[in-house]
Structure formats: C-alpha cells, structure tokens
C-alpha cells in the first residue's frame, strides 16, 4: 500500500465515522420528536394513554359538536367502528365540520377522552387527510 492510498483510506474512514455518529445523533433526536398517527380503533387497541403527544384522525361524528363557551369545544371522532370524545380549547379551523375529515393532536387520557391542543386545518373543502382515508379503508367505511 502506497502512502497516498493509505492517507486516503484513513481520511475516508475518519469521515465515515464522523458522518455515522452525526447521523446516529440526528436519528436519535428524530425518534424523540415524532408524533404517531392513530385512528380511534388503533388508539383504543394500543391503549396509548399517558403523556405522549399523538395524532388522532377520522370523521367528526354528526351532531356531536358542542360549544361550552370560552372557545371550548367537545366533539367525537369516529372511524365507523370506535368513537373518541375530544375536548379542545382554541380556534377551530375554517374547514372543520361534522361528517368531514379531521386530524387532532394532543394527549389520550386514561379515562378514554382525548385532550387536543391542535386541530389541524387543511386548505381544500374536499381534502381528506391521507391517514384518515387509509384508516377508513381499513375499517371498510371509505366511499369513493
């Protein structure tokens, strides 16, 4: 092995190690900050209660939206099989409506309620979040 080849090999290995460590740190950090998405059925099955922030998506059940005043809203999200009661304080997005798709972010409590800190807005009135379409297809409630 000549000197230049050796030098190059060392250079290559060192940068590979540094690069590898950097990627590991990033991925580790990534895993701490991901927010999982569940349908009502999945969230009950997985029993994802506790402190972790998750997303829940489905259809807003008809005649379930109640306004408590002070910008507090309660409604139920359904995937056709299970329903979850959601409580949210804040401004509802413009396209929030009964029997339309919705995604909320927050914490699933021990008593089976979901406390949302975000209700996600989408731009288009016909838009259905892909995750919701997927979960509705799984429960057979999806209609083209």
């Amino acid at each position: 092995m000549t000197d230049t080849v050796k030098k190059r090999l060392i250079k290559f290995l060192v940068s590979l190690i540094i690069f590898g460590i950097a990627i590991l740190i990033i991925v580790y950090n990534l895993r701490d900050n991901i927010v999982y998405f569940y349908s009502p059925t999945e969230i009950i099955e997985n029993n994802q209660t506790g402190s972790q922030i998750v997303r829940l998506g489905g259809l807003v059940e008809s005649e379930s939206v109640v306004s408590d005043g002070d910008s507090i809203f309660r409604f139920r999200i359904t995937d056709g099989q299970q329903q979850i009661s959601v409580k949210y304080q804040g401004i509802l997005p413009n396209l929030f409506a009964e029997e339309k798709g919705v995604v909320v972010e927050g914490i699933y409590m021990n008593d089976g309620r979901f406390i949302a800190n975000k209700v996600l807005a989408k731009h288009d009135e016909n838009y259905m979040p892909p995750e919701v379409i997927k979960s509705l297809k799984e429960t057979g409630k999806w209609q083209e």
Binding site: N33, G90, I91, L92, N94
Partner: protein, 636 residues
Amino acid sequence: MSLAINYIANSLLILCLVTSIIQSRFLFKIKNYNLLSISQISAIQFLSILVSFVILIFLFITSDFNFDLVYFHSHSEKPLIYKLSGVWGNHEGSMLLWILILVLFNFLFSLSKSSSQKFKEITVAVQSLMIFGFVLFLLLLSNPFNINNENFNDGLGLNPILQDPLLAIHPPILYIGYVGFSLIFSLSITGLLTSEVDKKWATVAKPWVFAAWSFLTAGIALGSYWAYYELGWGGYWFWDPVENASLMPWLSATALIHCVVVLQRRNTMQSWTMVLAILTFSLSLAGTFLVRSGVLNSVHTFASDPGRGLFILIFLFIILSSSFLLFALKSERINKPSLHNISSRNTGIMVNNWLLISILIVVFLGTMYPLATDLLYNQSLTVGPQYYAISITPIIILFLFFMILSPKLSWEESKLLKILDGMRYILISCLTITFITTLYYDLFNVTEILIIFLSLILIMSSLTSGLNFKSTKVIVKSNFGQSMAHAGFGIFMLAVVSNAVYSQEKIYEAKVGSKLQLNEYIFDFKNIEKEEKVNFNSIKAYLSLSKNGKDLGGFTPEIRFYSDPPTITSETSIIHQFFSDIYVVMNVPQNQESISLRLHIKPFMNILWLGVVMIILGGIITAILNKKSYRENEIN
C-alpha cells in the same frame, strides 16, 4: 376556433422539440451545417415556448372553457390577476412556465460573450437535451392545450386560498431560482466533458449562480411571507415537507455559491463544486415535482397528481446517474492539487460547507422519515418542529462562528491572534450590548444568548468590512454584496431568536363592545359586519388597538365565503410596528353572541424580513458586480 388554437400551440411545442434536437447536435459528432447560429436557434426555441405561453394566458383571460385546463382552474367572474395566476396555479400550466424559464436561460446564455464558442455550444446542447425531455413530457403526459367537447358555461374556479397577489408572483420567482440551476448543471456537465473546471469556468458560472440563488431565496421568502399572513397560524415557517423541499436546494446552493468563489480565486475545490452543482439541480427538480406529485403529504399540495410522479422520478434518476457517472470518470482529471494552509479562508468556507450539508441532512431525514415508515411499517407519523430546532441550533452556532471568522482569514495564511486583535472593538461592544439585553430582558438561556452575541458580531464585522469609512466619505468595497448578505443573515438570526422567545398569543371569546388585553395592548372590539363582494361574501370584525391610551390603528380580520369552489378562508389583520407585528385572526362564528378572536404579538418580524431582503440584495449585487471585482483582483 379552439381546435385551431390547439393545433397552433401544439405545433409550436413540436417546433421547440425539433430545434432542441438540432441544438443538442454538439454532443454528438454530427457534421455542422451552420445555417443558423446557436443564438438564433435558441431564439426560436425561446419564442416558440413564449408564444404558446402567451396563448395559454390569452385562453385564461378570455375564459375559453373549451380547454380542460381553463375549465378546471378558472372562472369567468374571477378578477384578472387571478385569471392570470390560474395559468400557473395548476400542474400543466406550471410545467409550461418551468419550460419557459428553461428556454429563457438557454437563450440568455447563448447571447452571453463570457465563454469560448466550443464551451457555449456544448452547454447549450446539454440544456437543449433537457428542454427536449421536458417538452416531450408536456406534450405526451401533461398537455395544457387539451380540449373537451362539452360546452361548459363556466369554470370550476381556482382555490380561493391561492387567490392572493403574493401567490401570483411566488411561483414564477421560485421557478426562476429552481430552473436557474439547470444552467449551472449544464455548465458543470460541459466542464466535466471538456475537463475545464477552473478559474475561467467559475468566472463564467458565477453571475448565473448568484442570480439563480437570489431568485430562489426571494421565492422561498415570498412563500414564507404568504404563509405568515394568509394561513393565520402566526408563524412564518412550519417545517412542512413542501417548505423543506424548497429549503434543501437552497442549502446546497448556498454551499455552491461559496465554492464557486473559492474556485474563481484559488482554482481549487473543483470536484466538490461539481457535486454541489449536480446536487442543487437534482434537489430543485425533486423540490418542484415531488410537491406536485402528491408524494409529500403537505398543507401546500394543491395541484397534485401521483401518476406523473413516476416520470419525474425516472427523469431524476437518469440525470443523477448519468451525471455522477460522468463525474466519476472525469473527477481525477479536473482536480488540481490544492496547496493551502489550514488557517486560510478555504478552510473556513469548507467547514461552513460541511455545516450547510449537515443541516441539509437533518432536513432530508426529517422530511423522508415519515415517508419511509409509512412504506415500510405502514405506520403514519409526523416529525415535530422540535426535532428541527434541537438538531439545527448547535449547527447554526458553529455556522455563525465560522461565518464571522472566514472573511477575516486571508486566502494564504493568517494569524488568529492578529484577527482577534483587529476585532477587539467589535467584540467589546457586542459583549456589552448582549450583556445589557440579557439583563434587561431576563434572558438566561445560554444558546439564545450565544446566538444573539454571535449575530451581533456578524452584523458589525460584515458591515465594517464592506464599507470603508474614511474621514469624510464612505467607500463601497468590491465585497459589498457579500458583506450585505452576511450582515443580513446576522439580522435574520437575531430576529428569529428574539421572535421565538418573545412571541405572545391569546384567544378570546369576545362580544361586540368588549375590551381585550394582551400585554400592554388594549384591543377594543367595535363592530361586526357582513359584506358582499364580486367573488365572495364576508364577515368582518372591526377592532381598534391602543397602548397606554395612545391609538395605534384598526384591525379588520375577516372570514370569506367563496362560492366557486365553495371554500372558507380567514384573512388575518396585521398592524406592523417597527419592533413588533400585532396580528389578529377571527374564527368562523359558531353562535350569534360572540366570536373567537386570536391575538398575537410577533416581535421583530419587520427586522426578520429586512434581514432576508438584505440577503437577497447581497446576492443580486454580487451577480452584477462579478466582472468588475474579478478584474480588480487580478490587478491586486
């Protein structure tokens, strides 16, 4: 009539296709007949696309619903500007706009006199090969001139959220940036083919690189400003996949512009410059078309069609594999042994290149991870903004440090102590300012203090290096563009950190006549009114703002109900003060008595945009002053 237009437009596209084949003859050893010069043929390419684009604009303005594109994306009652922006508010039209810019750059370059004839011929040939690919795609898979046989009375309309003057100019500006890098890509391929990647190459490429970069920066900034006031979430950057898709080529392009400067001055970093040029263009392509393909799940995806994603992926694969193959074959030949000291400017720029690429990797992983888990484990998830904040902050601190240091280092060798000595006044004054602000605002977070301190030094050292203060007059130096952009970045970082720390938000369920309060600001809720406009109805709230009894102006947040297509949008209302924006959004009224209002105080927003504008101007100045400063340096 419609049929005739359809024939004319398609013939023009085919004309462009044919001329592009003729132009790419220089890549193959075909006998040259020289009937027309390259710039003349480029002019035909450009004009054929320009005319077909004008035809499309004409169709939108006259609302010719015999054309599918107009039917699906326009409406006869729309104001003129939105008929116009409807042209590129959809897949086919934006594709034609993309090609128009592609041929425009090709034409402009064929007119330029900075490179040798042979170099120009090959560059135009590479560019024409790309034009050929895109025009073929347009003709076969996404033809904007398809006609229907129905007699529609009216169109389906344009998504109201896109009906915004800013969003009418955002796509063209962003596209000029993206497509500008196609020319850099062609220049790189030519450089590799002819093994001429040197000072000369950098001098030819530099104005184009800086121009494309400035447009890309401006395009991203416009999109961000739009999101700030239109989406009404109070933020200006959401780490949304589509935003990330435009940030990634920007990061790579920022590394590239610095490499081109090093190449021009020191004739080194050839391979790395080539890699960055290819990477930037590939990311630009991916940025435009992954967004359009609907692969990325995003709030910004409007005109999506998964079927076409495949073509783009294949195209991307061909470009990437062939250019990296060429690079692998030629990189030995273009590389010159670099002789530079460790404490020279090269090192500083190289380090910041690596830091930019690290940020790029962070953004890439964050964007792609949800896609990968969805495909591999069928698990849907999103990556929180916290991931980006935590990962990027330490990189930014190092980045700022080297941004201050690198311009102070000479190209040969420098003594660090001497630099420190030269900066002593700046260091002392910045330390004092940081100390006072820290105490005054009760700041105790070390990273925040560090970023503020480093940004301050960056601003001062950049400004003092770009301007020469003589006793009576101020002399603008040749590195003025650079120092302006660097100072702008310092101002930007300062504003980003302060904004993140001091933003305030409060939601009220308010009745007409009530007074709302946020910090020392009083919001007087005066009235609520219904209005009818040409293309929408609206509910408007009227509020007035005062601070310590002083009147500061009025707010009119609004909810708009559009009918074609039926959509509801909120219009935010912002009062811009020098140091902070006050921002009000209203909710769709749920009952008659009261409405929800969200109040925001967003400090330093004006200063943040000022920083961005300085960055863009810095790029433009460097692109224009290129030749002058090069000569100046040759004399020195």
